[in-house]
């Protein structure tokens, strides 16, 4: 069984987001992690491999810092990694999916896994688009996955409950929280991660030089309004309560 996992390096969940002078998201000094939903995908791939054998390839589109996320997957037990450097190309979900699909089309695969969304932009589009380009089925927000004899049975979240679906392989599955508990990278794995193959590709290597451009462009970013200071109403309880009710109705307009 050949499994490909698409993963993205994102900001740490505890990172404080700020904008730089140009109004773009400041990337300097932020600690980076593997997108947690992609970690579920890596873990699931490793479990499938441990059960049925095969090879796990992890792939990412990103700058060289994304190697850390790929190395983490290698240290967890993935066999090889591919990093596609998009160079100067502007990326949106369409462009990223186009690049990933092109790279994956050169591999042998039975299963493609990814997180159902990334915690940074949260658009939840890339895996579905990859499936579309590769012309294979996609099952989203999977919380359980069983594979046997060329097909997979997956449990996925739907509004108010869950759905059990069967799909022929190859197929794309996107991981939801609850699919598994990702393992820590093993210490020996960390020591050996550098010895595992890490293939670095450019858009030119994929025949995509000048062929991909974002269809959606971000115009501007804004941060949430800072929380305003609370108001303390002084005085006797009964009097203060009256004043509070008045303010809630007239100023805050919540009652």
């Amino acid at each position: 069984m050949n499994i490909v996992v698409c993963l993205k390096q994102t900001f740490d969940t505890e990172a404080k987001i700020t904008l730089d002078a140009g109004g773009k998201i400041e990337r300097k000094g932020v600690s980076l992690i593997m997108n947690p939903y992609d970690e579920f995908a890596v873990e699931e791939a490793l479990r499938l491999k441990e059960k049925d054998g095969g090879e796990v390839t992890v792939i990412s589109v990103g700058e060289s810092s994304a190697q850390d996320a790929l190395r983490q997957a290698l240290a967890m037990g993935a066999d090889k990694a591919i990093l596609v450097d998009p160079g100067e190309a502007e990326l949106d979900e369409y462009a990223t999916a186009t690049i990933l699909a092109k790279a994956i089309s050169g591999l042998e695969y039975d299963i493609i896994l990814g997180g159902f969304r990334a915690i940074d932009d949260g658009s939840a589009q890339v895996a579905g688009r990859v499936a579309e380009i590769l012309n294979v089925p996609v099952v989203n927000v999977v919380t359980k996955l069983e594979v046997e004899g060329g097909k997979a049975v997956a449990t996925r979240e739907i509004e108010g409950g869950s759905e059990l679906v069967e799909v022929a392989l190859p197929a794309v599955f996107t991981a939801q929280k609850g699919l598994n508990e990702p393992r820590y990278p093993s210490m020996k794995g960390i020591m050996k991660a550098k010895k595992k193959p890490m293939q670095k590709m450019t858009l030119g290597d994929l025949g995509l030089e000048g062929q991909v451009a974002a269809k959606v462009k971000a115009l501007s970013y804004s941060l949430p309004e800072p929380r305003k200071a609370g108001k303390i109403i002084p005085g006797e309880a009964a009097e203060a309560a009256r004043e509070l009710a008045k303010l809630l109705r007239e100023e805050a307009k919540v009652i």
């Binding site: 850390d68 983490q72 990278p185 093993s186 210490m187 020996k188 960390i190 550098k194």
Partner: protein, 381 residues
């Protein structure tokens, strides 16, 4: 490379341990501190994750990392917020077991070292007695050869991990007439008849770590449990103490760093006289001084560790690390408590624990005064 010593692998290990500490240790620390005992699953779990054998060769189940992997472990464990736990782990990885690796037979390595690295056996180190600690030559615990056994009698005290340990790396006198040339090391299983834990000691700090008083009464230990060479124990334990002091210093500095970070966060948020504490110059300067002291101590630890890792035996520098590490950690904790003010003195804030825990850094593993004595001697005084 950070500080010229930490590689990508070190940083990946650091990230993993930090995650473990935050998700698996931090939620329990308060409870363990109250109980005066951290859960028994911690050491096996750390063994399972490979944290105890980071710098041991693969043939012993280790990851084959270098000495700085051990430093990374000590530094990250310090961030659990209680000094007792990293101390217990340091006893397991850097105090009670390195002599087995260094002086042990293949049998002893198989029976004691490997299970300890896997976290299956907890180790403790028995040097200190009611009447002798750093003065190792004066210890009174006596081992007498009787056929194919050694018969051990005596008492040990302040033994970290002593309550939970499965075996003890024990220092005993094998020839009382020869002073420090009559000391030997033994590996003693806890279920050996004649060996007992007489008391779990109550401490000012490091509360989640168990500290024991141990008694040996005609405790018969098989001859093959002699560790290293008979009567060479003093030299062997002096060698051990270097690693103990260095890792202790690294842990002390990391604890100070953690305390400092918490304090900085507090000082940013706490407003007095109409502005955050950090906008008061007296506090800002205090914080600057704390950061500087920590950095200076850390640089000394790293440069000394580099020598130690290269196989040198820098006793003077290690003693300096231990001295400055212990003093800086306590000074930083004391200054932090002062910045927290009244809240700092309350049990609900963690800084009181740093203050209590860090006090031991100036005593355990050799007091400040012993360190100065070693340094003075190395200066020919």
């Amino acid at each position: 490379m950070k500080y010229g010593v930490f590689t990508e692998e070190h940083e990946a290990v650091r990230k993993t341990i930090r995650r473990f500490v935050e998700t698996e240790l931090v939620p329990h620390v308060e409870e363990w501190e109250k109980q005066g005992y951290f859960a028994d699953w911690v050491i096996p779990r750390m063994g399972e994750l490979g944290f105890l054998s980071l710098r041991y060769p693969e043939k012993y189940g280790g990851a084959g990392g270098d000495y700085f992997m051990g430093i990374v472990l000590a530094e990250e464990l310090a961030r659990c917020g209680a000094g007792g736990l990293p101390m217990a782990v340091a006893v397991q990885t850097d105090m009670a077991t390195p002599p087995i690796m260094q002086f042990g037979t293949e049998e002893q390595i198989k029976k004691y070292l490997i299970p300890a690295l896997k976290g299956e056996k907890v180790a403790c180190l028995g040097i200190t007695e009611p009447n002798a600690g750093s003065d190792v030559a004066s210890i009174q615990t006596r081992a007498v050869r009787d056929g194919d056994h050694w018969v051990i009698n005596g008492r040990k005290t302040f033994i970290t991990n002593g309550v939970r340990a499965d075996f003890i790396t024990l220092v005993a006198k094998t020839n009382p007439d020869l002073g420090y040339n009559g000391v030997s090391l033994f590996l003693v299983d806890k279920d050996t008849p004649g060996f007992s834990v007489t008391r779990k000691l109550e401490k000012v700090g490091m509360r989640c770590s168990d500290t024991a008083e141990l008694l040996f009464e005609d405790c018969r230990v098989p001859a093959e449990n002699l560790l290293g060479v008979e009567n060479r124990g003093f030299h062997q334990i002096m060698w051990e103490l270097q690693g103990e002091r260095l890792i202790g210093a690294a842990g002390a500095v990391a604890g100070a760093q953690y305390t400092f970070e918490k304090c900085l966060e507090y000082a940013r948020q706490r407003t007095q006289f109409g502005k955050p504490l950090i906008r008061h110059q007296v506090i800002a300067h205090k914080l600057a001084e704390m950061a500087t002291e920590i950095e200076a101590a850390r640089q000394l630890v790293y440069s000394t560790a580099r020598k130690f890792a290269a196989g040198e035996y820098p006793v003077k520098e290690i003693s300096m690390c231990k001295l400055v590490g212990g003093q800086v950690s306590f000074r930083v904790a004391d200054a932090a408590l002062q910045i927290y003010g009244g809240y700092g003195y309350m049990m609900e804030y963690g800084v009181q624990r740093s203050w209590r825990d860090s006090r031991l850094n100036r005593i355990g593993g050799g007091t400040d005064e012993i360190m100065k004595e070693v340094i003075a001697k190395s200066l020919g005084l």
